[in-house]
């Protein structure tokens, strides 16, 4: 073997090792949210969107990002939906494998017809789900979401306190990650990339 060939080969090997190291350094493997390990199984549910009923089982194969809120409160809900949209923008084409769902904790005011256009304002792929008060209560309980209607003596009539965390379900519909309200879009996108790599 000529000296030159040997030199070229060792250069190639060194280059390949460098690439792998750089790839590993740039690829996040740790999660920013709270990982649920093992992922928590939840029972299937069916709620109503403005385009028809949606069941959790319809979404197998996709990561499902679930957020519970209400449109009457234009504070943390728009902030969260806006961050989720920015996170999906960061994913590019991979955003197709993620479904964002907002479930209302105020089915009285948030009918499916009202919720659909509301969530699509943030991202045309977002889905808004409503249902009967009983159905919503059942789903919230299953997902560990607290909410409570509070009467106020003003035009608002009532406000709803609610858990502002965001849940991420793996491709099999199991809760695998919980994001606090404060999490930023970049950290969300990084976590979604980690979960998307798991098959």
């Amino acid at each position: 073997m000529s000296k030159n060939l040997l030199l070229a080969l060792s250069g190639l090997v060194a280059g390949a090792i460098l690439l792998v190291v750089v790839y590993l350094l740039l690829t996040p493997t740790t999660l920013n949210g709270t990982q649920i390990d093992p992922p928590k199984e939840v029972s299937d549910f069916t709620l109503t969107s403005d385009t028809g009923p949606v069941s959790l089982s319809d979404l197998r194969g996709k990561l499902v990002v679930m957020y519970f809120g209400y449109t009457f409160c234009p504070d943390v809900c728009p902030a969260t939906l806006s961050k989720l949209n920015k996170a999906l923008e960061r994913l590019g084409k991979d955003a197709d494998q993620v479904q964002v769902i907002m479930v209302t904790v105020d089915p009285e005011r948030d009918t499916a017809d009202k919720l659909g256009p509301y969530v699509r304002r943030f991202n045309p792929q977002f889905t808004g789900l409503s249902g009967t008060a009983e159905d919503i209560a059942k789903v919230a309980k299953e997902f560990g979401i607290f909410y409570e209607k509070k009467a106020v003596a003003t035009a608002a009539k009532y406000l709803v306190d609610h858990t502002a965390s965001v849940l991420v379900l793996d491709r099999d519909g199991r809760i695998s990650l919980i994001w606090p309200f404060e999490i930023e879009a970049a950290a969300m996108a990084s976590d979604l990339r980690v979960l998307l790599r798991k098959r």
């Binding site: 409160c73 234009p74 504070d75 806006s82 003003t154 306190d161 609610h162 858990t163 309200f181």
Partner: protein, 146 residues
């Protein structure tokens, strides 16, 4: 040779310094800084945010925010207690003497309820802000995306 580059850099620096101005309305000893509301659709609700500075030696308070473009309005405070978002109705937001208070997402806000029209990014809405001591003032608020 290097001098023109230096001057060019200096010009860029000066230009960037006079970039977008933060809207400030002075009203007695109250300054209303960067007031804005978020985009929303007709019939819905949205929040108004701003920083209120008090340059006076006496405490004041925002007691009312009225919007001709909304049916109703209320002052609220959002607080995160653990993972739970709690919203409460307030009669006033205190502005300490020689201090300031920020109305911002996840904290104090003036809520516009029952919008009479769509609010799109770049639009302007009028707000009549009433302070306990300083009285009432009308300001224009820019509409921004959340």
């Amino acid at each position: 040779m290097k001098l023109p580059v230096f001057f060019l850099g200096l010009c860029v620096l000066m230009l960037s310094a006079c970039g977008p101005q933060v809207q400030t309305t002075k009203f007695g000893s109250i300054e209303i800084v960067d007031p804005y509301v978020e985009t929303a659709e007709s019939g819905g609700n949205t929040d108004a945010y701003m920083v209120l500075k008090n340059t006076g030696g006496e405490a004041d308070a925002l007691v009312k925010a009225e919007f001709p473009d909304a049916m109703d309005s209320e002052i609220h405070e959002t607080k995160m207690v653990g993972n739970v978002m709690k919203m409460t109705h307030l009669d006033a937001v205190d502005i300490p003497a020689n201090g300031q208070v920020a109305l911002k997402p996840g904290s104090f806000h003036a809520m516009m309820m029952g919008l009479k029209k769509d609010l799109k990014a770049g639009d302007k809405v009028k707000a009549i802000l009433t302070f306990a001591k300083a009285g009432s003032v009308t300001v224009e608020m820019e509409v921004r995306n959340p």
